[in-house]
Symmetry: C2
Subunit: 637 residues, 2 copies
């Protein structure tokens, strides 16, 4: 019998969720079989909105530049249009990502899905991973016949097995198949409908001529002739979302459709008194949307699902692709930590608990939002109070849709995502009980576990470059330890003790030291000691005052490209001496240690103190989910 | 006889000056024959520093992103090292582009010349222009035998005419051949040596291991064992410049050389007490540098020279490629304006007068700088006063080299370049004498003619994007008219009159209207009315208050993608209501009109006033160099 090909993972579907997962794992050296039913990547249309938080992620993967090379449209503001006597009129505008959200990129990036897919596919090819097309999955089982590769997967050419078929074994199987998932059906996982209402939507991408003044903005337009959503796109295009039917209609028919011409005619009626003419239509599609969420994302922590396969909802808040990206990112580093021997296999359960929680929040938001959007709005003349400014601080009586929209900005930007307490996200209930843990609840730090690290601009000491601290470690599977060093004169002993205790043989740091630690390349910047940790040190000092080798013990000065001066003024904390320290809510004198998960979310925050306490606390934290035993007192070196 | 091939221009040499010229002209539709003696682009080494002003230019050509995709090193600070008892010690650091310079990108970008060349070559290929290699020029004459194509140029394969040779006719010939120029020699143009001192330099690119703390910074190191300059590079590389001989040496020999090993040994001695070891050497070259400037850049305004062909100097201030870029940019739009019938042929004389003036300043700077760099420095202990801060405002007694360096920052960043008064750069001596001209001399604007437009951040009204105003018009050969509209309520009449007078048949604007003005594409953003002008309107108002079609007459609202709200706070003018107006030194209530040349330099500034005066002044200004008659009173539509 011929030997069966073995893969670390088989990934079904090359949409956003499958591609991001594949890209991470390919970069980290995993062997991947990635198939897609389509003969080629998306050509036009489909998802198109990259939210601010997702752009952070893409930048962290070094993919922001190729995305931006496509000259996407950027949405900074949303305009609300409502019925008035003479047709529609603008009742207000609102920042897409208002100033109260501390976003590095406070805008939504609009680009069609195919261009986004291509960025990932190009990157995958650099890591010798190609999508096998057009192939589909025909069967799978976690039969455990091979302990290391417990899952058997059968795949075949979409045109039939005679065109090609393979049966392979894998450590994991991932379905990024979209709403219609063979894997989900085979597993018998049910979809729960949060909202019993369903809709039929038409979506049209094209180039128009119009005197409608906000055609390059995101707009929600409610008129007596219906409702429409306008989204600007690259290359002078515009996308129109138009609701064709709702299950609340008397004549509801989920198969109701509309022609291009009908949708254009409706759009013209809605947008009166403005004219709108089409130069061309690039893409048009009608599809029913049912809101739903999969009851399980995995049954056995071997066969996983993510993206649209697990959650479907209306397209209007632009969340589908973004949620898919974060599903994939969440799973990628957890699989990596289990397979590389760093973490206990039990951490894989947190993929479902973290991501399903986010999807549930998304669906709750979406149900309310979609319902409000579909409702006929009161005439603008009734609600003159809607603000005309976008500063994010207006008040007054607004219509419920606008009110909901504003409330939801943090969520839709991606920054509202907060994972609940678990082994990664420290809380009072965490198994690690050391007294040095700081928390937002106690007011001892401004950082919240399970939330993204706040952005901060600092000066890198080695080359005096002004950099974004939160981006200094790429998405490489490492924990990011931020040692906020306060004033060097005050923390010298505490930092020396921190390094000394990291060097103890049983510390989390030493237990996961690289095997080749004595022969690591001189130019290795991020992981000279361990593949799982990078240490950044940030001092409350001006750059030229920081002599790395004088201020830091050898273990820490080895990260000479990751030492920073907290000397850049920040408008958000204008009176702070050290803005980054201040934003994190840490003492500008005494500092503190922030542990950030590989995906950029805060894990825990610990007081920086003389003695072994700081490292003891971290040992307890990592010990709660690491595969090897951590902790003890034997010092080395 | 076979018909002779005809080209708009023949360009010799595909280094920075030739490539930038070629790229501009290719984009504007000119037919180009571009040859280079080298069989392929630069592989390693050579010029590598892109100064802040040049990065503005590359961004304006949409080439910054591909440059940055190469992950260049960025120099924000320069460190000065001087002799001390134990070897060398740092005596101070200084911002490479200090805060007193209002630079959008306050750093130098380091990338080897080959990667930069490739960015241009890729762009040229998109415009169907390829470099013919390895070919050289064998003869030329402006024989005028063809009035339209007066220059005959003969070129051949470098390996001999039997491998290929052509004789073509061209409107222009440009030599970007570098210091050894066949064209310059044939023309008999002499080089004048500003500074009689010559040097032999060694330059070495490589990867090193060292404990020298500033290896990722630009450093000037003076030691008792000699002097060296350190420049960081992409891919962990570092460039060392080391002076091997000076004509002031007793044993001066311009052919003196040194081996790689000798230079490395010298570097080790200079850098004591720090160690430095080479992993590899990527490039090493020794070359004599004589300071010189060509007496003429052209004799007939048909055969032009630029770049190293016209000026040579020491490499240490990183000015060669940057000066070359600006030579090419300066010539490109002037040729374009003559060939397209916009401007009188006499404007071509200003290429030499503007660019030779800049080169002379460069050489004066360079001579002084090189001399100071070569001199043995006093021991650091003697000059303890050198500042340790980089804020740009320290004082105290410094050594002459550091003092010179600081004084020169504006010049080396590229922002010190100021063209003298001429037809483009309005002054009291300009033929246009209208009383509405404003000037820095009179204190009626902060903008200086012949200087780059100040950067300003504003909000684009159409899509609410926060943008860099100075970058809103690409380098497309158009004049950029910035109508600062002040408070809309105060300027409504003045703006209406401005538009009305632009519409008069004899205005500069109407005289150069597009022939196809009635059938211009709806989506044309920059040049709907004229290929030579784009109008930007900036109001002192918040974005949502600006209804483009209500505030602006049709002529101006046609530029709906070029209307801006001056509503972004700027740290440099913290108390201004409208920061861009304030930075330009214009009334925040009444505004003003700024004419910016196609290359980004301010041409003239005119008061915005009711009546015809504002346009009358501009008619006088453009009338002084335009090919067609401008001015008069007949109004149309």
């Amino acid at each position: 019998m011929a030997p069966v090909d073995k893969y670390d993972i088989v990934i079904i579907g090359a949409g956003p969720v499958g591609l991001l997962l594949s890209t991470c794992l390919a970069r980290w050296g995993y062997k991947i079989k990635h198939i897609d039913m389509r003969p080629e990547p998306t050509l036009t249309g489909r998802a198109d909105g990259i939210q601010p938080r997702s752009l952070d992620l893409l930048r962290n993967m070094d993919l922001k530049r190729p995305i931006m090379a496509n000259e996407p449209a950027k949405v900074y503001e949303v305009a609300f249009w409502d019925p008035s006597e003479k047709g529609i009129q603008r009742t207000g505008t609102w920042a897409s990502c208002p100033k109260f959200i501390d976003a590095r990129y406070p805008f939504t990036t609009l680009l069609h899905q195919g261009l986004i897919e291509r960025v990932f596919i190009n990157d995958l090819e650099k890591h010798n991973t190609r999508i096998q097309r057009p192939w589909r999955i025909t069967g799978f089982q976690n039969d455990g016949k091979d302990e290391e590769y417990p899952v058997e997967v059968s795949i075949a050419h979409v045109d039939g097995e005679d065109k090609g078929q393979e049966t392979v074994r894998a450590k994991y199987l991932f379905s990024g198949e979209g709403a219609r998932s063979f894997v989900r059906e085979q597993l018998g996982v049910k979809i729960t409908h949060k909202d019993p209402i369903a809709y039929v939507w038409g979506v049209m991408d094209g180039v128009v001529r119009t005197d409608f003044p906000d055609i390059k903005m995101k707009c929600t337009i409610h008129s007596d002739a219906g409702s429409i959503m306008v989204i600007p796109r690259e290359n002078n295009m515009v996308r129109l979302y138009i609701q064709i039917a709702s299950s609340t209609d008397a004549d509801w028919n989920p198969r109701k459709s509309a022609t291009t011409e009908e949708v254009q005619a409706t759009a013209k009626r809605i947008m009166k008194p403005y004219y709108v003419e089409w130069d061309r239509v690039e893409w048009y599609s009608v599809y029913p949307i049912g809101q739903g969420i999969a009851d399980k994302y995995t049954l056995d922590e071997r066969v996983f699902m993510g993206g649209d396969c697990c959650h479907t909802h209306s397209p209007k808040a632009g969340q589908g692709m973004n949620t898919a990206f974060l599903d994939a990112q969440n799973l990628a580093w957890k699989i990596h930590h289990v397979e590389s021997g760093f973490a206990d296999r039990s951490i894989l359960k947190s993929y479902e608990s973290e991501r399903k929680y986010v999807a549930e929040n998304l669906l709750n938001f979406d149900a309310e939002y979609a319902k409000l959007f579909s409702q006929k709005q009161p005439s603008a003349d009734d609600i003159k109070t809607a603000s005309k400014q976008s500063s994010g601080d207006s008040h007054g009586e607004e219509n419920p849709f606008i009110k909901k929209f504003k409330e939801s900005c943090e969520f839709t930007s991606g920054y509202g995502v907060a994972y609940l307490e678990n082994v990664f996200n420290w809380s009072e209930n965490h198994p690690a009980k050391h007294p040095l843990f700081l928390s937002a609840e106690k007011g001892t730090t401004a950082l919240r576990s399970g939330r993204i690290l706040k952005p901060a601009t600092v000066t890198r000491v080695a080359d005096a470059n002004v950099v974004h601290l939160e981006q200094e470690i790429p998405l490489n599977g490492s924990y990011r330890i931020f040692l906020f060093g306060g004033k060097p004169s005050k923390t010298k002993k505490a930092i020396a003790d921190f390094a000394k205790n990291l060097q103890k043989k049983s510390s989390f740091y030493s237990v996961y030291a690289r095997e080749d630690i004595d022969s690591v390349n001189y130019h290795e910047r991020h992981n000279p000691h361990s593949h799982f940790f990078t240490i950044n040190t940030i001092f409350n000092a001006h750059r030229p005052e920081i002599e790395i080798r004088e201020l830091l013990p050898a273990l820490l000065s080895r990260y000479h490209d990751h030492v920073y001066a907290d000397d850049v003024w920040d408008q958000r904390v204008p009176d702070a001496e050290a803005a980054a320290h201040a934003k994190m809510g840490l003492s500008q004198e005494e500092g503190g240690v922030v542990v950030v998960r590989p995906d950029g979310y805060v894990g825990c925050v610990v007081k920086l103190e003389q003695g072994s306490g700081t490292v003891d606390a971290l040992n307890e934290y990592f010990g709660s989910f690491c595969a090897k035993k951590i902790g003890g007192e034997r010092a080395v070196l």
